[in-house]
Structure formats: C-alpha cells, structure tokens
C-alpha cells in the first residue's frame, strides 16, 4: 500500500492557497494501489456433483483438485483529489460465467467490481456515485479479501445465497461517535445485475431497482448490524423462456432480504453470527386456461405463493493461539417455497496461520448436508447429498 505523489501535486496544492498549511498537505492529488488475493485448491469426496461458491457459477469443485472455486484476486486503486473528493476502482478476478451459456465459466475472469466517485461531506459522511458494494451482509464489502477473513470460505448457507454483490447507483455512509460507541448508517439506491444458474437454466436477472439500508453499532469488541436489501426484478420473457414459458407476461418480483449480524472479537476470541431472511411477493393467482407466467405458476404450484421464502443463519467461533486461529462454523439454510422444501446445512473447521504480516495460510474441511441442489451443480437436483469438502490456500494483501 504505497502512496505515490504526482509531480503536479505541488501545483494543485498551490492552487489551494486558501487552505491552511496542514490542509494543503492533503489537498494534492495522490493515488494508492493495493491488492489482495487468495489462491486455494478445493476438492470434495464426490465425483458426480460439484460444490460451488456462488449462484452465478455453473461449475464447482469435484473430486479432482480445483483452483477456481475459492481463488480470486483483486486490485484496487484510489485517487484522492483533495477537498474530500476521491475515485475508487476495484478489479476482481474470479470464476464467473461470462455469458448466458451454461458452460461459459471462466476462471480468474476480470471484472470491474467497483468504480465510484466519493465526496466526503464531513469526516463522518461520505456520498458515493457509481458501482458500489451492495452491503447485504455484515462482511459483504470484504468477503473477497481472504486475508481479512478468519476462515477460508464464509458459510455458503448465508453468503452463497445472495447473487447480487454490487449495484450501480448512489450510496451514503454516515458514521458518528456516541461515547465509546460508533454508530454507522448506510443507504443506497440503484440498479443491479447478475446471472443465476439453476440446473440446466441460466436466469438473467437485471433489476428495475435495488435499494439498501443498514445500521450498525461498534462498541469496543462488539459489532451489531442490521440491514435490508430490496430489489424489484421484472420477470421478463427472456428470463421465463429458460423456464419454458414463451408468452410475454408482466410480473415484477419484489425481493426483500433482511440481515442481522453480530461480531465479537477481543483479539483472542472471535465469534461471528448472522441471520437472514428472504421474502417475496406472491406470484399471480390464475387459472390453467391462461398462458404465460400465470400458466407456469399454476403448473408449478406457485400460484398465489412467493417464488422463494428463505431463512438462513450461521454461527462461527474461534480462539487464537498466537499466530494460529482454529475456527468452527455451522450454517443452515431453509427454504419453504411453493416448489420444494429445501434444507442445507454445513459444519466446517478451519485453521488460519499468519505466516507474515500480509500472508496467511488456511485450511478448511467441511461437511455439507443438502436436500437443495442450488449450492451444488449436479445432474439430479432432487437427490439429497452429503458431501465432505477440503480446501487449502494462501491469502495475501499488498
């Protein structure tokens, strides 16, 4: 994380003679480049299905060693213009599907994760415009930065269920001190876009709009956070064509994702827990004589019911022994949508070893019990499975 000064920083500073000498030091244009990465090998004990880490992947780890499941690299640049203005960009290289073709997964595909201009109105209030993180979870904004995480892979029961990670729009962050506590608020509004792979289908889901609200309190070693992300997804014809419905229909799914997070870290003991729920409006109530989405909903038994209704949580706890951090985590995902009753739980044990001040080695073994196919890529999505996963990797930041 090196700071480089442009030669004309002096010129810029000179243009701001009205500011005090101390402020002028900040007023020049500076840029910082920093990076992060995780290189991890992952395998599971089954060869006829694959464990994936995101709903937008249609390839995961099977019984051969896979480097794409848990690996990713990021590069971030921040340009500070002074007077509270800055520009932040982050490139993320990760496995993702690059088009609607189911087999178009590419490892280490580079995408623009964030690109936003920020204006600090005061030292506690920031406004952002551009592509920003969609803070659905407690650790959304640093989930990809393995080095900042205690484990190798955050529990998929919660973190694997939200395919939207960024939005294009505006966002405000406000922080105030209240005695020993720090209170933060975040609000954002914009558009989001992602692809979801489900079985042999790719669902392209551009949103009409996405909004996010969250509040958090940090007090000494505690952090408590509550947040909500709402989105409106129009069920367009191309989306439904993948599900076999070709007649144009009009239906907008309203998705509400609520998250509650608690973190305790006193330097020795660490506890992380999150709970989340997803609610959606009901599908249209209709008769079988109708066509389009109405027919589809009726056939699937969805008429008058939401497409998804989910509850998920995890609890993780660890204890530091010097540079070693063993951690145990348990997660659960339950869906009682009209189409199926899906359950998914996992228990994992991870070990982090800090080899240097910017490098950590990690290993994680997990036992996944699933009735739900959506976290696996599998030929038979109805088949309940028990899978053991193993991953080893190295995290770094610079």
């Amino acid at each position: 994380m090196k700071t480089r000064h442009f030669g004309w920083r002096v010129v810029a500073a000179a243009a701001l003679l009205a500011t005090s000498a101390a402020q002028a030091d900040e007023a020049g244009i500076q840029y910082k480049v920093s990076g992060f990465g995780t290189l991890a090998a992952t395998a599971i004990d089954k060869s006829d299905l694959q464990l994936r880490t995101s709903l937008n992947q249609s390839r995961g780890a099977d019984s051969t060693i896979d480097l794409g499941t848990d690996s990713r690299f990021g590069l971030q640049g921040v340009v500070t213009f002074g007077q509270g203005w800055s520009l932040t960009g982050q490139l993320l290289s990760i496995r993702r599907r690059v088009d609607s073709d189911l087999d178009s997964n590419r490892d280490f595909d580079i995408g623009v994760e964030w690109l936003f201009a920020q204006y600090a109105v005061t030292s506690g209030l920031d406004l952002r415009l551009g592509r920003v993180v969609l803070p659905a979870f407690m650790i959304s904004d640093s989930r990809n930065v393995g080095y900042s995480q205690p484990w190798l892979r955050a529990p998929l029961e919660v973190y694997g269920r939200m395919p939207l990670t960024t939005m294009d729009g505006i966002q405000a962050n406000w922080r105030i001190s209240a005695g020993a506590a720090i209170i933060g608020f975040q609000a954002g509004y914009g558009k989001g876009h992602t692809n979801i792979s489900s079985g042999a289908t790719v669902i392209d889901t551009p949103s009409d709009w996405v909004s996010s609200l969250s509040a958090q309190v940090e007090w000494s070693d505690w952090l408590l956070r509550v947040g909500q992300v709402r989105s409106a997804l129009p069920f367009s014809s191309p989306l439904l064509a993948g599900l076999g419905v070709t007649t144009p229909i009009e239906y907008t799914m309203r998705d509400t994702f609520t998250n509650l997070g608690l973190q305790y870290d006193n330097g020795q003991a660490i506890v992380l827990a999150e709970w989340a729920s997803r609610k959606q409006n009901d599908m249209p109530m209709t008769q079988p004589a109708l066509s389009g989405l109405g027919l589809f909903a009726y056939q699937a038994g969805l008429a008058g019911k939401p497409l998804a209704k989910e509850k998920m949580w995890y609890v993780g706890a660890g204890w530091r022994f010097g540079k070693l951090l063993p951690m145990v985590a348990h997660g659960s995902f339950k869906s009682d949508a009209a189409t199926s009753q899906n359950d998914w739980t996992s228990t994992s044990i991870s070990l982090r070893y800090d080899v240097a001040n910017n490098v950590a080695l990690k290993a994680q073994i997990g036992r996944h019990e699933a009735k739900d196919s959506s976290s696996f890529v599998t030929a038979d999505p109805t088949d309940p499975r028990s899978v053991t996963s193993l991953a080893v990797g190295v995290d770094f930041v610079f």
Binding site: M1, Q76, G124, V133, S148, G267, N358
Partner: protein, 135 residues
C-alpha cells in the same frame, strides 16, 4: 573464535534490547492543547472504527509499533493488518500514515491539532502532550 564471540555479543545485546523495549511505556501524544483520550478512543482510531482524528504510525520494523497495538488494542500486527484490509478494500479509509521515527511523530502532532501519534515515553518533550500512557 572471534566471530563466535561477536555473534554471542550481538545475540546478548539483542536480547537485552528486546527486554528493555518489552517494558517500555508507550505514550500516546497530541498537540499541546489536546484533551486526554481513553484507551477505547485510541483503539477505535487505530482499528479504523473512528475517523475523528488522524492517527500516525511508526514503521512495521519498529518494535514500539507491535507493543503499542498489543497494549492499546490487544491485537498483534497481523490482526491489525487484517482489520485494515477490511477497511481499505471496502473503500472506507486508509491505514494510519507511517512516519519514520519519534521525532517525525512529535513534529507532526505539534503541527496538526487533529494528529495523534505514539512514542516511547522517554522521547516525550515539551513539544507534545501525553493524552494516554500505556504500560
């Protein structure tokens, strides 16, 4: 023989230096008009929870840095780095500015009423005010 003696002497000197620094008191310092800070306030600043003041750091190689973080935040440097990487890569802020030594820290806090630094208690002089002492 001579080489071995030098090596032993160096190790002994290193050990005694380590012993001395292990017991050093760390003084958190600000400009002359500053009010005292609590340990929680200092921890909040140096762990990126609060951005009310401008924290200053010593180089990673400085033994005082490790002691300061242990005493003020109960965290070792790897944990502090992990905490800051969360903040940096969420675009929320940048880690404390690093200065080369105590003299530079004193000069910086004397010049800016919002700047906070930490130095060895023995390096404190009239140019700065001790806002918190960490034993």
């Amino acid at each position: 023989m001579r080489a071995k003696f030098i090596r032993t002497a160096c190790v002994a000197a290193g050990l005694s230096l380590g012993a001395v620094t292990a017991w050093a008191q760390v003084a958190v310092v600000m400009g002359a008009s500053a009010a005292p800070l609590t340990k929680d306030q200092v921890a909040n600043l140096y762990l990126g929870r609060s951005f009310d003041l401008k924290p200053l750091d010593l180089p990673e190689a400085s033994p005082l840095r490790e002691q300061f973080y242990k005493k003020a935040t109960d965290r070792d440097l790897s944990q502090v780095k992990a905490t800051w990487s969360r903040i940096v890569f969420s675009g929320k802020g940048q880690p404390p500015k690093e200065l080369p030594d105590a003299a530079a820290v004193k000069k910086a806090v004397a010049a800016d009423p919002k700047a906070v630094g930490y130095i060895d208690k023995g390096s404190v002089d009239g140019s700065v005010k001790v806002v918190l002492t960490l034993d």
